[in-house]
């Protein structure tokens, strides 16, 4: 049971990956906990995720808050505030 993580814009550039497969640890329940977990992985992740106010998350293609509870097979996209339009 694995989750797909997707990164966009400067989050993608700083992490150095557009996507990766991720096994959700039992201890990580929410979006906030996932962001904390990823930020602890290393330099690129920390640079991408440290300014939490500048991070937005979508789960299964829908915007969610940091309190959103994750499931093990979710598609989780992490990105800066959008600038389309």
């Amino acid at each position: 049971m694995t989750m797909q993580l997707l990164y966009f814009a400067w989050v993608r550039e700083r992490i150095g990956l557009a996507e990766e497969i991720f096994a959700l640890p039992d201890t990580v329940k929410t979006v906030a906990a996932l962001l904390d977990h990823l930020a602890a992985r290393g330099d690129g992740y920390a640079a991408a995720l440290d300014d939490r106010a500048a991070i937005r998350v979508a789960v299964n293609q829908a915007h969610v808050a940091e309190t959103f509870v994750l499931g093990p097979q979710d598609e989780v996209a992490i990105f800066p505030p959008v600038t389309g339009g």
Partner: protein
């Protein structure tokens, strides 16, 4: 019913307007908003393909529920665009002018804060989201 497209190709505003008006006698108002590349030589739009079309469709359904409109078109481009090229089109038809203006304005405010697109300049700098866009989105009570 508002149709939605996310595409790399240019769009033809006149053709979209003609399509919205065709075979109807009840349209009294047609409002279009076109967003263009401004000031910079090129702008590259990245998007989240699995979500961008779905999210704009969700916004379209919300606009249909909120405003007394007849139809419309939303087209959002991605890829690298040159100065004064079109980025986005929102076109709305209605019997009276106010719902068309309101729906077009609502959709642009929501697109700016909800649709998963990101603009990057030719030098690599990412366009920053504006606080005023978040405020504009919130005024519709999202």
């Amino acid at each position: 019913m508002i149709s939605v497209s996310v595409q790399r190709e240019p769009f033809d505003v006149a053709a979209e307007m003609a399509r919205l008006k065709a075979h109807r006698s009840d349209i009294g108002a047609l409002v279009t908003f076109t967003g263009l590349v401004r000031d910079v030589a090129t702008l590259t739009l990245e998007h989240y393909p699995a979500m961008s079309l779905a999210e704009i469709n969700r916004l379209a359904r919300e606009a249909e529920a909120r405003f007394n409109i007849i139809g419309g078109t939303i087209i959002h481009r991605f890829g690298t665009l040159a100065t004064s090229e079109d980025i986005v089109l929102v076109a709305i038809t209605s019997r009276h002018r106010e719902p068309a203006f309101q729906a077009a304005s609502f959709l642009m405010d929501w697109l700016k804060t909800k649709a998963p697109f990101w603009k990057q300049e030719a030098n690599g700098a990412w366009v920053m989201a504006k606080d005023e866009d978040a405020v504009a989105g919130e005024k519709w009570g999202v």
